[in-house]
């Protein structure tokens, strides 16, 4: 990712559980194709799932959607979903790694694991987003992003399919933005000086 002085962020991380597929179905298609950073996502999902999420979203939006694989370098305009039954982590050289270490917050993949490791690497140059969900995974990770001076966004609990996860994130540390679903994509685009997507 050369240059980098004309913008403030190098990556976006998103975490969600129950209701997440619908929420991501609103946000991802709204994000501009020329988004100059990678988007890393943990969607809680059962361990025995296949890769239908990746196929589904790759069809749904103009971004390139893949399953996160170990040692994969993070590319702009690419969306990386954590694979079922693995934690997805970011390494200092900005590649991905996977682990089947014990569950965190009863979850594998865990949002906290992604957010913490991404925060260590990207620090203030990271955008963290917590969406609808039924437990508190991600609240700690989002707080860490906030403390590291990254940008934090939480879906409005009143507008969330399941409000527990956004509420936990807001209670742990006040985020920079609390937004309705349809406001998140446009904000992301504007942060990178992009006009609404053509699709």
């Amino acid at each position: 990712m050369e240059g980098g002085n004309d913008r403030n962020y190098d990556a976006i991380v998103i975490g969600t559980s129950a209701g997440g597929l619908d929420a991501l179905g609103v946000i991802l298609p709204a994000i501009h194709t020329r988004i100059p950073v990678p988007i890393l996502i943990v969607q809680h999902i059962s361990a025995s799932s296949d890769s239908f999420i990746v196929t589904y979203f790759d069809r749904l939006c103009t971004l390139t959607v893949v399953e996160g694989s170990e040692k994969a370098p993070l590319l702009p305009g690419h969306v990386y979903f954590a694979p079922p039954d693995y934690h997805m982590l970011v390494e200092e050289d900005r590649t991905l790694s996977l682990s089947n270490d014990e569950k965190v917050n009863y979850s594998r993949p865990s949002i906290d694991v992604l957010f913490e490791t991404a925060s260590w690497v990207f620090r203030s140059r990271l955008i963290g987003i917590i969406l609808t969900g039924a437990n508190w995974d991600g609240a700690h990770g989002l707080a860490l992003i906030g403390l590291s001076k990254g940008l934090t966004i939480v879906q409005n609990p009143l507008n969330s399919a399941v409000s527990r996860m956004p509420e936990a994130a807001i209670e742990t540390r006040k985020p920079d933005y609390i937004l309705n679903l349809d406001e998140i994509g446009p904000l992301i685009n504007s942060l990178f000086g992009l006009t609404p997507t053509q699709s």
């Binding site: 694989s69 170990e70 040692k71 694979p83 693995y86 982590l89 970011v90 390494e91 200092e92 790694s97 996977l98 682990s99 089947n100 270490d101 014990e102 694991v113 913490e116 490791t117 925060s119 260590w120 620090r123 203030s124 140059r125 700690h140 707080a143 860490l144 403390l147 590291s148 001076k149």
Partner: protein, 283 residues
Amino acid sequence: MALQGVEEENQGRDIEAIELDLLLEGVYQRYGYDFRDYGKAHARRRILHRLAMSGLKTIAELQHKVLHDESFFHILLQDLSINTTEMFRDPDFFLELREQVIPVLKTYPFIKIWHAGCSTGEEVYSMAIILKEEGLLNRSQIYATDFNPVVLQSAREAIYPASLMKDHTRNYIKSGGKHSFSDYYSARYDSAILKKSLKENVVFADHNLVTDGVFGEMHLVMCRNTLIYFNKTLQDKVIGLFKDSLISGGFLCLGSKESLTFSAHKEAFNPLVAKWKIFRKKY
């Protein structure tokens, strides 16, 4: 986990990353266990977890304690060891093993298997059960290794929580099991003890993939979900170790998210079951 101390300047390399490297270097020099080429993100999470439990403030303080207190080092060693496993984990993998690999193994008069990074032994005994059902166990020798003496001892004992047997049974059935899974263990209170006959052809041994050498003339090497914790340099080294340990035509079984795609030794293997990362060493 502690959140304090993260509001440092966003300049230069992150202090904790520096401290982690120094800690791992110290551990290597003092105790000979080499985690320097492990993926750092995972190691850092584990070390920070220990830090939060210990009441110490920084990884540097933890380093001091580790260098001067050997018993604390052994705690840290357990932290850095990965022990998530179950019997017949990924049943489809074991089904492929049974259908694609076992018929070839049957053609050998004697079969040598190296299970590297065996942890508490669940997959070793899964393999032993398949070999038994296929009539191969009495002419097989399984070498099961790990660097962690604590998990090796558990593996030797082969006593598992009875509460897990339901999951293990379901996996066993999905993996093409031919008998009743309860034939293989006896339940005592909260524990399930695996049958002795499954252990007879297994040798458990202390072996460190990072610092130790080759096991000779193996027909199959199984190492699932260990390489994902290594950086590329170490992955290449260890896959080279496996390559040199295998006979021509021998099988290499990796974890479902591990691959040889970027490996320096890619050309030495052909994929047999691509989805489940079963490879064959070329002749």
